[in-house]
């Protein structure tokens, strides 16, 4: 008998025994639904994480920052350590071939004054690279330019919130902002940065809107007066993500040499960091996954049980089919098709339930809804595999029935 005709027979069987079919599919529905939900939720999480990271450099970014030494007894070299400085930046620019940008940032605290505002605040010394690394573009006028850097110009660009804070409703462009004792001309206001992991959360990028950014050279000359030109951290952009590991190793090598082996810095691969975070998230995924697999197992066992019971009712039918010319293979195929049909129905019903489930949860925590092709794939594969696996035993049992005994069976 052809597969097509076996499906016709199986459809009849499934339609006639509606109640039984519903019972058989329940476990598969639940199992597929939770697998689909896991798929959807982990996908939502992954997308969210990627999107967030892309807001300040994406995965191709390697962060080098100062790390305080913890040793209580320090060597002379350790005592001599003063962390990352401009020399490191230049060494990295020279010696890391896969680096497309080496972007140093120095921070300092200064009193900021306008006619309506006065407070001690953190100011950021940056280079023009900053805006491309952080995708932080001016909403009005301009960002820092190379000339500002070369001239140690007393210019400042403000985040949106900072501008409001310092100047209220007045137009800050062209106005003077006093940082310490020096007047800085406001040359640009930056576009607002916003990112909400979950609906109703605070803006995860608000810290950027509050930035007060001046040329890093001006920071050195006006405030720190630091001959070493220390930097707080360095963003190294790598040409492609595959080179991250190599870049990390190269950076470590260069800095270890320059810092005479003192581990007063740390090199962080954004890609690795993201992977780690996802692995933490995967524990949740695993729990859902286990639930799904467990439901599928239980559902499969239910299906096998009911198939066995149904086989007992249909022993005579198997006998008749065999008398009429069905081979063992035909009978096995009939039972297998029936169990796969049942689980496929379970998969079909489970898919939308799983999508609802995933979107319900993501909505609850305020994440955007997700429907991916992977969800459909998960449901199809899971349901068919369960049908085949748990249908196999009843199918083999049926195929092996002796026709004489099966015909005699009451």
């Amino acid at each position: 008998m052809t597969l097509r005709e076996s499906i016709v027979d199986a459809l009849v069987e499934v339609r006639v025994n509606r109640a039984r079919t519903v019972l058989q599919t329940l476990g598969v529905i639940l199992g597929v639904a939770s697998l689909v939900a896991v798929q959807g939720m982990s996908d939502a999480g992954r997308r969210q994480g990627l999107k967030f990271f892309s807001e300040f450099g994406g995965l191709k970014k390697i962060l080098v920052h100062n790390k305080p030494l913890k040793e209580r007894v320090q060597t002379a070299a350790m005592l001599d350590s003063h962390g990352l400085d401009w020399g490191d930046v230049e060494a990295l620019r020279r010696e890391i071939p896969m680096a497309t940008q080496v972007d140093p940032i120095a921070e300092d605290e200064q009193t900021i004054r306008t006619p309506t505002y006065q407070k001690l605040r953190e100011i950021t010394g940056a280079t023009p690279d900053y805006q491309t690394v952080y995708k932080f573009f001016p909403a009005r006028d301009r960002f820092l330019i190379d000339d500002d850097l070369a001239q140690m110009s007393r210019v400042v660009v403000l985040g949106d919130s900072a501008a409001r804070l310092y100047f209220g409703n007045e137009d800050p462009l062209g106005k003077t902002l006093y940082i310490g004792d020096a007047g800085f001309r406001v040359v640009g206001v930056l576009r607002r940065k916003e990112f909400y992991f979950n609906e109703g959360d605070r803006n995860a990028l608000e810290w950027m809107n509050r930035l007060t950014i001046i040329p890093i050279t001006a920071l050195y000359s006006r405030f720190t007066g630091d001959p070493d030109k220390k930097v707080s951290f360095i963003n190294v952009m790598v040409d492609k993500v595959e080179n991250n590991k190599k870049a990390v190793a190269a950076i470590n090598k260069v800095l270890a040499r320059r810092h005479k082996g003192v581990p007063d810095f740390e090199v962080i691969d954004r890609k690795e960091r993201m992977k780690q975070q996802q692995q933490e998230g995967q524990i949740f995924d695993l729990i859902f996954l286990a639930t799904g697999i467990l439901s599928l197992l239980v559902g499969g066992i239910v299906i096998m049980n009911i198939m066995m019971a149904s086989l007992r009712e249909r022993i005579r039918e198997v006998g008749v089919r065999k008398a009429i010319g069905a081979r063992g293979l035909d009978v096995a195929l009939q039972f297998l098709v029936e169990s796969v049909l049942v689980t496929a129905i379970g998969g079909l019903v489970g898919l939308p339930i799983g999508i609802l489930f995933a979107n319900g949860i993501t909505a609850l925590i305020g994440q955007p809804a997700v429907i991916t092709p992977q969800m459909a794939m998960v449901s199809v594969i899971a349901s068919v595999v369960v049908g085949l696996f748990f249908g196999l035993y009843p199918a083999i049992k049926a195929a092996r029935l002796n026709p004489v005994e099966a015909l005699r069976y009451e």
């Binding site: 069987e13 009429i324 010319g325 015909l407």
Partner: protein
């Protein structure tokens, strides 16, 4: 033994035995059966329960294989075929009619009749056509879409007969085909078998009912796993040109007197 009323025998059993192991003791269900059945013959196999009649029927129907001996069915030696090959033989050469009709309860009459062709790999169009034709022959074409449960017993048995004939088998094997029917309906079914016999089908009726057996032209009686008698039925004998003396000793109704 009667000469086969045709050319070569469609069935030839030579020294067929069947032994079942039931624990310590072996049950000898058949002890050396020799039987030839010609094409177009109508034959009844009778015998009390436990005589080996059912075993013989199973072997004739290729549902089971003999322990020893040879069985040729329409030129094919089937005694040592695999179960897979036996399924093919059953499908192509044998039409079964059972006492309990054994129609598939969830399938329409048409699909029931299609079943042998489904396993025989007959294409959809031809299959439907032949199934309709078979249903028409038994007078149930207009009910093709009905379920077996919507029919009377006699009608169900007619569907079963249509199913048995649809692959144009070498033999039709009927096991107590009237056992579940009232007398009148039983007669109608037997009349249908008569009709089939006249059309040239080889029909083997297995029964314990002497009245049913009398409808056949030849009666084989099984006792204790062996053929006790084999001869023309009274009706056949009466119709025969040769005198009744040719009829084997205890064939026919007389046989049941003792």
């Amino acid at each position: 033994m009667l000469p086969a009323s045709g050319s070569d025998p469609v069935i030839r059993l030579v020294d067929v035995t069947k032994t079942y192991d039931s624990g310590d003791t072996a049950v000898h269900a058949l002890r050396g059966v020799n039987l030839e059945i010609g094409a177009g013959e109508s034959i009844a196999i009778i015998g009390p329960s436990g005589s080996g009649k059912s075993t013989l029927m199973h072997i004739l129907g290729c549902l089971d294989v003999p322990t020893s001996g040879d069985y040729d069915l329409a030129g094919t030696p089937v005694a040592s075929l695999s179960s897979r090959a036996l399924a093919k033989v059953r499908n192509e050469k044998i039409g079964f009619v059972f006492q309990a009709y054994n129609l598939l309860p969830k399938a329409s009459l048409l699909r029931n009749v299609e079943l042998p062709m489904l396993y025989g790999g007959v294409g959809r169009v031809e299959r439907k056509e032949r199934a309709r034709e078979a249903l028409r022959k038994v007078g149930l074409l207009e009910r093709a879409a009905h379920l077996p449960s919507q029919l009377s017993g006699g009608q169900r048995q007619r569907v079963a007969i249509a199913r048995a004939l649809v692959n144009n088998p070498a033999i039709v094997l009927a096991d107590e085909p009237t056992g579940n029917l009232d007398t009148q309906t039983g007669k109608d079914i037997l009349a249908l078998f008569d009709e089939l016999g006249k059309q040239g089908h080889t029909i083997i009726l297995v029964t314990h009912d002497p009245v049913v057996a009398e409808r056949a032209s030849r009666i084989v009686r099984i006792v204790d796993g062996q053929i006790a008698s084999d001869g023309a039925s009274v009706r056949a004998a009466a119709e025969a040109v040769v005198p009744a003396g040719v009829v084997a000793v205890d064939a026919g109704p007389v046989a049941f007197a003792h």
